[in-house]
């Protein structure tokens, strides 16, 4: 009895036509309200976006309603009728899958026939369709809840952690559409679930690169964004006044490719020169002596006095000793050497302040004496030896530059611009520290790197340096230990993943994209996964977008962005795609490997205190007195 009763409530119509994958269903006349009450529950009636069950014999085919329309029934007696009887309602349905042995499977084995009966899904079947977990995943730690179905309040969406987090994730959406919130929610839920597991701490690292500073607050003790302070390390990087520094291993710091890009080195002349410089052996242990010998060599080789001056100035700049008294005295002393053009040698005038002598001292005649004098020159501001890594590379470059000039006597005009760019290293110095080995404290479980306060050069180069290092290290680690997991999260990824940029050189662009594309393509093997969030999917390399496995798509307004998503994401059906531009804030389409079909979900709230700081400014509130 009960079954018959249920059928009368749940039956909504029958198949009217089958045209390829498109099914048309004629709706029974009395089923037009938006909800149906049944046994104390309210069940959503069919509408666009909802699911429908077509029963063909013993086979239950599940379809999704993609459209509906009506035709007026002209045969109705107009004097005496019920409003709902006047119209015939038709649904356009696309097939999704079938239910067998109490489980939903994607894909179609059999097509429906005309006059097959159609039913609403009851709550049990609805749950089945929206259960994306494999057997056992639910009971154990296997899943997280990030939100609920947007069209159905009561349906929590549980996603398999294995399928979601062992994949590259893309989160796209216009600013203000809830993108950062979704990102934070995802990782908050994951970390919350495992944070007390020792193995989790041992094997996993999450690194979030945050261009806008949304994921940290200044007070580290009370920074609960995403996760409690004790589980994370924050790097609030700043190129104006140095605060935190990100640790970079020496071998990546000394990577020639990185420097070539950082210094915008040209491929033909500057890069070979850089390579020579890196090989150059400068005696940093006895730097002062090395330096003085170099000066002497310059004098011997008859450099132009202006070159020597430049050399001194450049070294002075690098070592930050330009305005020290004894440094200036040293320069004056060097300047007191005068070049005698006919005999092609340096000499010192009589009555010079530095020498109590009444005759000219020619360098070749009085070499011993002058060299001794120079070597004994006592200036304190000059370091005896150099230990700072940030000094070694520019110094090498400068020495190499003059060395080249010295030995080959070649025209160095093409190289000179490179030297000017060396001052950039000052910014780098403020945001990274060079270390020899990773220590326990170098990184925590969650690592948030804020690039809000760094200049645009660092913004471009640093994420690359960091990601490259993390990736390479993980490759090595993975070989030693198969359990290592690394998740690199990049918010506002268009900043660094754009395939087009007029401001930068081709070579840099290639290097940059190659690094990320390699992670996207090969990362999985090494347990490295990328999560990228962006408001501008059209600005991100399509290779990268198309290789992502799971997508959270928030509202996108711009046509280019929508096209980019349409072109590259194969998981999206037409209906979801059309929803893209009308999604409310906090609601997104979830599509990809983790779930059999795209669904629209409303992301649940994050516990207060853990949410990102990304609210829109309240204008009027701040303007009125």
């Amino acid at each position: 009895m009960k079954e018959f009763e249920k059928e009368s409530v749940f039956r909504i119509g029958e198949v009217y036509s089958v045209d390829g994958r498109k099914i048309k269903i004629k709706v029974d006349k009395n089923k037009n309200s938006s909800y149906i009450f049944y046994q104390g529950q309210i069940i959503k009636n069919i509408s666009v976006g909802s699911y429908i069950k077509i029963v063909k014999g013993y086979i239950k085919i599940i379809g999704k309603v993609e459209g509906e329309y009506i035709e007026e029934d002209k045969s109705i007696n107009l004097a005496y009728y019920k409003q709902s009887e006047k119209i015939n309602r038709y649904l356009l349905v696309s097939l999704l899958g079938y239910i067998e042995r109490n489980k939903f499977f994607q894909g179609i084995k059999e097509m429906p026939l005309v006059f097959n009966e159609c039913y609403l899904l009851d709550n049990k079947e609805f749950n089945m369709v929206h259960n994306f977990l494999d057997l056992g995943e639910e009971e154990n730690y296997g899943s997280i809840v990030i939100g609920k179905l947007a069209l159905e309040d009561n349906q929590d969406i549980k996603v398999s952690i294995d399928k979601l987090f062992a994949s590259h994730i893309g989160i796209f959406g216009n600013t203000g559409s809830g993108k950062s919130y979704t990102l934070a929610k995802l990782y908050h839920e994951l970390l919350e679930k495992f944070k007390n597991n020792k193995n989790f701490h041992k094997t996993s690292r999450f690194v979030l690169i945050d261009f806008n500073g949304e994921y940290l607050i200044d007070d580290k003790e009370r920074d609960y964004t995403i996760i409690e302070p004790e589980y994370k390390k924050t790097f609030n990087l700043n190129t104006r006044n140095s605060k935190d520094k990100f640790p970079i291993l020496k071998k990546y710091f000394e990577d020639i490719e990185f420097w070539a890009i950082y210094l915008n080195a040209t491929e033909k002349t500057q890069i070979p020169f850089l390579k020579r410089s890196f090989k150059m052996e400068v005696d940093f242990e006895n730097f002062k002596i090395y330096f003085l010998n170099f000066i002497i060599m310059m004098l011997e080789k008859k450099f132009a006095m202006s070159d020597i001056q430049n050399f001194l100035e450049e070294i002075g700049k690098i070592l930050h000793i330009n305005d020290q008294e004894d440094y200036i005295m040293f320069i004056n002393f060097i300047n007191s050497f005068i070049y005698h053009s006919s005999s092609e040698v340096y000499y010192i005038q009589p009555n010079n302040t530095y020498f109590n002598n009444d005759k000219r001292l020619y360098f070749n005649d009085h070499r011993e004496e002058l060299v001794k004098e120079i070597k004994n020159y006592n200036f304190n501001s000059f370091p005896e030896k150099i230990e700072d890594n940030f000094l070694k590379i520019p110094l090498k470059i400068i020495f190499q530059f003059y060395n080249d000039k010295l030995e080959k006597n070649m025209n160095m005009e093409f190289i000179a611009p490179l030297l000017k760019r060396l001052r950039r290293i000052n910014y780098l110095e403020k945001v990274i520290e060079v270390i020899d080995n990773y220590s326990e404290n170098s990184l925590n479980l969650m690592n948030i790197i804020s690039l809000k306060n760094v200049n645009s050069e660092i913004k471009k180069i640093l994420p690359l340096l960091i990601v490259k290092q993390l990736y390479e290290e993980q490759k090595v680690n993975k070989n030693l230990d198969n359990k290592k997991y690394l998740n690199i999260i990049i918010d506002e990824a268009h900043n660094i993943l754009s395939p087009i940029s007029n401001r930068e050189s081709e070579q840099w662009k290639e290097y940059r994209l190659e690094t990320f594309e390699e992670i996207i393509k090969e990362g999985r093997k090494f347990g490295v996964f990328l999560t990228i969030a962006s408001q501008r999917p059209s600005d991100i390399s399509s290779t990268i977008i198309s290789q992502l496995h799971n997508y959270f798509l928030h509202r996108l307004i711009n046509n280019k962005d929508i096209e980019a998503v349409e072109r590259t994401i194969s998981y999206l059906d037409r209906l979801s795609f059309e929803y893209l531009s009308i999604l409310p804030t906090g609601t997104c389409i979830l599509a990809g490997l983790a779930i059999p079909m795209p669904i629209i979900i409303s992301v649940y709230e994050i516990k207060t205190g853990y949410e990102p700081k990304s609210e829109t400014i309240k204008l009027v509130k701040h303007w009125i007195d």
Partner: protein, 376 residues
Amino acid sequence: MELKINKKIIENSNINFLIGSGASVPFFGVLSNIENWLTDLDKDKNINEEEYLLLKFLFYREYYQIAMKSNIDILKNTTEINFLRVKKNYENFFKIIRALIFERKSNLFSKQINVFTTNIDIFHEYVLDQLNYDFNDGFFGRFKPKLDLSSFRRTFHKESLFFNKMSEIPIFNIYKLHGSVNWKYDEGEIILDLNLSLLKEINKLLNSINITAIEDQTKTYDEIKKIITKNDFEILQKKKDIIKQFIESYEKLQIINPTKEKFQETVFKKTHYELLRIFSNELEKENTILIVIGFSFADEHIRDITIRALNYNPLLNVFVYDYDGNGVKHIEIENTKIKNNNLHIIKPQENYQYDFENINHDFENILKEIKEIKED
């Protein structure tokens, strides 16, 4: 998950209310023991005619004074504080419900709201009239309005002045299941006694009789029997005619007396069963809700119909407001096993009571979700 009344439910249902005496408290009292007294009186065999007359008088008078007398004050527009409170509750109720229906743009559900009530007071009609809302109370005609149940479920449409567009107006159907003090038997028909002439007549008769009052309503039948004094019998001897006249007039009232045998007039008996049938029919429609306010299901007719409908109509949802959370004691339907899980008892949180005012808050909150409420 426990189902709560929310906008989705209001939006997608035929809406019925069942309003009991709790709604008119404190201006009118609740029935308490009167039903037992009258039942015991009918069963009592060791009683002489005079005693019987006296007790009947006492019980009728008690019921009259608790549940009927003050209706006369309503017509006089009393400013008593309790009246104003109850009136405000009724007003808010109708306003909010009407707004909820008015905002609901659906051609699938009618704009009629069925209000079933066991109250015999005139609050419903009085307040609806004051608010200038359209309602059906079952009466038809102007000079001598007669009760005709077919006049329920008339729909009201309004035509706009400009484009001749028709629009249905929300309308309340007031079904008075236990009759009403403004119903009067007249030559085989029930007619509308607009100025409560019958009540006034009864009042006049009562004023001339001065017999010991019951005072404590929790007394049992036997206890009341003991409080009758000799003096009372003397008065009875003197004023027997007036007392008989009172009982006679009282029994002309087209209301259900709180006894097991409830009817005086066969016309009213028929009407009563027709009304119950309508109640039952309404509960058998699809996507229907019944919201029960101030009613404890002590009336087994209504209880049985409701339970039957709950069991046979899985598309019905019944929501019962439990006044103070002690529903087990008060709501005689609560422990009934319903196979469809569609009976929902709404319990108040601790230190909160679901009086009429607070129930209105619930609906007001739903309305607030839908639109801004204008203060007037």
